[in-house]
Amino acid sequence: MTGLRSFVARRLLLGVAQTVAVVLLVFALTEALPGDAAVALAGDQPDPARIAAIREAMHLDRPAYERLAEWAAGLVHGDFGTSVTSGRPVSQYLAEGFGPTLLLAALTVALLVPAGFGLGVLAARHEGRLADRLISSVTLTVYAVPEFALGILLVTVFALHLGWLPPTAVGYGTDLLAHPAALLLPVLVLLSRPVCSLARLVRAGMVDALAAPYAVHARRYGIGGARVRYAHALPNALAPAVQQLARTIDWLLCGVIVVEALFVIPGLGTVLLNAVAERDVPVVQGLAVVFGVLTVVLNLGADLVAHRLAPRAGVAA
């Protein structure tokens, strides 16, 4: 469909603009931070001469726009530049941090979808009854609990008091898959808020869809309850939920920063925090690009799925 193609093309163009804007914004912000990598590195030994020497060693004495231009030129060739503080390539930072974060995110999303949809459908199915009340109020409450608080709580209960699970992923390095038990709590914490919002969204959509004439019609014609729920009502409840799912990437990122710190998982969130603290601008930039591209691609994907699910939204007259 040409309509679809031009839609995708326009969205991609917007995505590129978004990513560029994000990078510029991040660059401007990191440049505007008081102090630079040299000051940050000097710490409580702010000997001016030493700061100057470090600055020179890091090539920070060059004007900001020159550094940006050089970095951007490199980016065009797929080169993310090198870290100011360690001199290692930024791509290495990204590559090393990407694994654990991707694993966490993928696991979370993989569980998020069935859990969120399952709970939402369950609540909608028993609308107004105990199961619904229970699910609704629990999701509401858990939604309000920040990750760090939940993380501490879960660790205290399941790892320290009961001793069922390892409290952190310390020492497991990037090979987290070999220690599935260590992943359980982090994923649970990451899952908590998105699941709640997704479940609530699916519930609302399902309540509407199940009451919609087409669902009643299908039921009237003898189609089984489960089939009506999943094959006929759910696709209609899906579109807003899928949009929300794309929005979850932002949440996951927030959550990942906290969760990685809490459970000692060396992923992108940790890299980001360190880079911001060290004023390691190229690394922050690289991350901004990665996150920007991810956000754009996921949103585009969500739009396409939503478009597929609710075809009226896109093409309808």
Binding site: G3, P213, A218, G222, P235
Partner: protein, 533 residues
């Protein structure tokens, strides 16, 4: 009460020793919050017969019809007996077939699910093919032959007629012995109506019992074998259609059946040369996202003279609403000029001066949607006089009240919220809202479609009175319905965006020239002929 007597006697069919009914309702009472919306209704649906429930909106006919499907309003208390033949539930064709088609699934989804249940006893590998065959058969029975491609489409990609036939095919595939058709022809033009009538007749011919819920008396007369007349939840009269038409016993039935056009043709005003509104070389486009602009209307020349009424007739999608909206300034995307008294009107309402706004007023098809649901009707109507004529609030309210009551709205109703008024009342209020501007040109866009006969007649009467009382107002009546068009002095016929014919009403109605107009007239005639009028 006479109703009592009538209702206790079940439909005439049961007196015959004819075939057993495939569905039967006995002494149905549906109550919400202690108020009965259906009370003591009996109904028998016989195979191959069309049983019609007629009545104004709110008379309980829909509730009764849906009871056959086992559906009741939420929170309702139901007593009585509903029986349906065991081999297949009742089929249902709603007024808006799109509402029962799942927007997120292809057309084939529900058909597949229905067919699957029927092929369970076949060997696994044969099931698919067998199900497919059944589906195609059902579609072809519903007059959708060669529908393979259609199955892959989404509901919104089908035309209204196709949607209706798909819904019908679902019922046929199901093997329904009874099919409830809810207002299948409401708001449709004569050509479509006649097609639907044929279709329902074909259903009955297949031995299916059809329960027709309608306020379209032409269709009822053309189709029904038995008619139940409902009012306020009760059946006031029932019997074979001929008997009812020829000798209605109940006063309400008489009122309902009094279909003669209220009034036709005043003398057209002497042609006073300068038109009040003049359209030249109008080309309107629609833009829908990907496809780019499509031209939906071309009107080289159209004029409206002071005191004149012009009916614009056409099928749905012919561009007549777009024409009206262009004139009202609600459809910006057009070229060409619209002159008011010789001066060009800005394209968009937003750029029109108050005087210009007041001069051209527009009444919407869907009155309920055209009112703010949060404010009392009177307030909203009065605002026209405040904004467009600079009246202060007090006098505006006074005038609004006078206009509203003049149009037949009870004074106490004017202080209510729109949701508390009936469709007919709201349409009157909408008319009042436009009239308060003292318009030179009043554009009425299908304002009677979707209303039952009695209400419609009331509105049309109000319009007629208006034309008589205010000689300076020119009326533009957008309609698909030739009966309403009779009201006008002149008629313009639109087809597929082109203005195919225009002229004095009697000339168009008696000797149409364009082939399309001819076919339109013929179908209407055929429908009326069927009704035996």
């Amino acid at each position: 009460m006479t109703e009592r007597n009538d209702t206790t006697a079940p439909t005439g069919a049961c007196t015959d020793a004819g075939p057993a009914p495939v569905a039967e309702i006995r002494d149905l009472r549906v109550e919400i919050d202690g108020r009965a919306i259906v009370d003591g209704v009996h109904l028998r649906a016989l195979p191959g017969k069309v049983t019609a429930l007629v009545g104004a909106s709110g008379s309980g006919k829909t509730t009764t019809g849906l009871a056959l499907l086992g559906a009741y309003p939420s929170g309702a208390r139901v007593t009585g007996d509903v029986r349906v033949a065991a081999d297949g539930p009742a089929g249902y064709v709603p007024q808006h077939p799109a509402s029962v088609l799942n927007p997120a699934r292809r057309v084939s989804a529900l058909l597949n699910d229905i067919a699957r249940t029927q092929v369970r006893d076949l060997p696994r590998h044969e099931r698919r093919a067998a199900a497919r065959k059944r589906i195609l058969q059902a579609l072809s029975d519903a007059q959708l032959p060669h529908a393979e491609a259609l199955l892959r489409r989404y509901p919104h990609q089908l035309s209204g007629g196709q949607q209706q036939r798909v819904v019908l095919a679902q019922a046929l595939l199901l093997g329904a012995r009874v099919i409830v058709a809810d207002e299948p022809t409401t708001g449709q033009d004569a050509l479509t109506k006649s097609r639907i009538v044929d279709q329902l007749a074909a259903l009955a011919a297949r031995g299916i019992a059809v329960v027709l819920l309608s306020h379209d008396l032409d269709v009822v007369h053309a189709l029904a074998d038995e008619v139940l007349v409902m009012r306020a939840g009760r059946v006031v009269e029932s019997g074979p259609v001929q008997r009812l038409w020829l000798a209605p016993r109940h006063e309400w039935t008489r009122q309902l059946l009094d279909t003669r056009p209220s009034s036709t043709g005043h003398e057209p005003p002497s042609d006073t040369g300068r038109p009040v509104l003049r359209v030249r070389h109008l080309t309107a486009r629609h833009r829908d996202g990907a496809h780019g602009p499509t031209v939906v209307l071309r009107t080289p020349e159209l004029a409206l003279h002071p005191g004149e009424s012009l009916a614009v007739v056409g099928r749905s999608g012919s561009g007549k609403t777009t024409l009206a909206r262009c004139l009202a300034g609600l459809h910006r995307d057009h070229d060409g000029q619209v002159h008011l008294d010789g001066t060009p009107l800005p394209r968009s309402v937003r750029q029109r001066s108050r005087a210009q706004l007041a001069a051209v007023q527009y009444v919407f098809q869907d009155a309920r949607a055209a009112f703010d649901e949060h404010r009392p009707v009177l307030d909203q109507v009065a605002r026209t006089a405040v904004r467009l004529r600079g009246l202060d609030h007090e006098s505006a309210v006074q005038e609004a009240l006078a206009t509203l009551t003049g149009l037949g709205l009870p004074p106490e109703a004017t202080h209510r919220l729109p949701s508390e008024l009936s469709g007919g009342e709201l349409q009157r209020a909408a008319l009042a809202r436009a009239l308060l501007a003292r318009p030179r040109v009043l554009i009425c866009d299908e304002i009677t479609s979707g209303l039952d006969t009695v209400t419609r007649r009331g509105i049309l009467d109000a319009l007629t009175d208006l034309l008589r009382d205010r000689a300076d107002v020119s009326l533009m009546l957008i309609t698909h319905d030739l009966e309403s068009a009779r009201l006008a002095h002149r008629i313009a016929v639109l087809e597929a965006g082109e203005l195919v014919e225009q002229g004095p009403a009697h000339r168009i109605l008696t000797e149409p020239r364009h082939p399309f107009t001819v076919s339109l007239m013929e179908t209407t005639a055929r429908l009326e002929a069927k009704t035996g009028a």
